[in-house]
Assembly symmetry: C2
Homo-oligomer: 235 residues x 2
Amino acid sequence: MGGPKLPEQERCDTILAAAYQIALTEGLDAVTARRVATAAGISSGLVFFHFQSKDGLLQALLDVLLDGTLDALTDPALAALAPWDRLERMIRVELDRLVQYHAGVELLFAFYFARRDEVFRARIEASFGRYHDAFLPVCREAVGTAVPVGSGSTIATTGAPGAPGAPDAPDAPDESAGTRAGSPAGGVSADDLATSVVALIQGASIQAIRNPAAVDPEALLATVRALRPRPAERS
Amino acid sequence: MGGPKLPEQERCDTILAAAYQIALTEGLDAVTARRVATAAGISSGLVFFHFQSKDGLLQALLDVLLDGTLDALTDPALAALAPWDRLERMIRVELDRLVQYHAGVELLFAFYFARRDEVFRARIEASFGRYHDAFLPVCREAVGTAVPVGSGSTIATTGAPGAPGAPDAPDAPDESAGTRAGSPAGGVSADDLATSVVALIQGASIQAIRNPAAVDPEALLATVRALRPRPAERS
DNA sequence: GCCTACATTGATCACCGGGTCAATGGCGCG
DNA sequence: CGCGCCATTGACCCGGTGATCAATGTAGGC
């Protein structure tokens, strides 16, 4: 009994990797101390030695899962784009990520729905909240600088780019009367837009879990694009 | 030992009600034969007598959960409305339902993510699929009859987006731009619209679970409304 | 009233989960 | 070399789970 010593961090990583692997392939329920230990090639007791309890292990696992989730959305390269382009780009990036890591996303949902523990929920919800926050600024910009059709001034959005690969987007609701309070030009307020975008992405994440191959980012993007006001419009 | 006889159906309903109650308030994990039996005021063995296994119990529970999910969307009263109004109405009804029965929706997700069993998943996914199907016809109508503005419905798609307001498409992964056929007047094809609507609602359902009070149906409806083409003016 | 059919009981089994712990191994240091 | 520290082991405990089953009570037909 007794085994080769390994540096603390490395052992923890080994265990976590094993746990992650099991969770991804066999579900969260399959993550038991014994199975993780076996998969990691160690004894069960060691799991409790490094993480004090199973809860500790799962917390750490959630850390891994949540780590770096929002990095793609803060890519500085995005700052260069005009608001609507940036928004579109962010959505595309996010959708691609969801499809690519659908197993991880599924695991995240499993965490949320299986463990009703307050701590887990709070952290995941916080992550979702940051999601919304990440989209709000762009939405504000997009809505704000959106449609200068009536009141001239700057058309900042449309600088020089001659729109080489301009997508379809035939026409858009140019002058819709904003029934909703605080609803500026585009017909949607920034908050409404952000809320909708987040809902759209979250909904897509569920579809990505159901059938990753069937998710069509273009369908959702086409919808978003239709929201985009067009200053000059043919009739 | 031995107890008062009750008609088969009634006993089953009693057990199911108890199981449902426990599942709603304490989560799916808390649904054990013993707890259900205690809550129903019977002995544990009886649970297995009526439902052969715990799986059987859960199947029946899922039945209860899935039953009548789509009824509201086929309300004949909806047929009288114009397409876009009907679509809007359906979404509103659905969102309200999600908020009202958020606990049930959460339970549904718990079923989906906790039990990775094929049977459960298949049934829930089928339900989601029907969801999509329920929205498709309206979307078709809405897109089709959408914009009598100017000329014939068919041009739009890739006609000639003068693209004054369309800066460079972010990355335009070739497939997107022109090839996205079947996108009539509104800027979105019927399928895209249906996909987006379903995603929107599913996303909203997640938010409803997080915090039912914070869900703002108007925000999402405002977005949908912004998708609606305005020929001239409406109220 | 009796007897068959069946709902009902609760003790019981095998199993598996989280968590503990004394014993043991290796490793560095004096 | 010897000593002590600590990672490591795996057997062990306890509780809870799904499931079984002989025994028992009740209802309804004759």
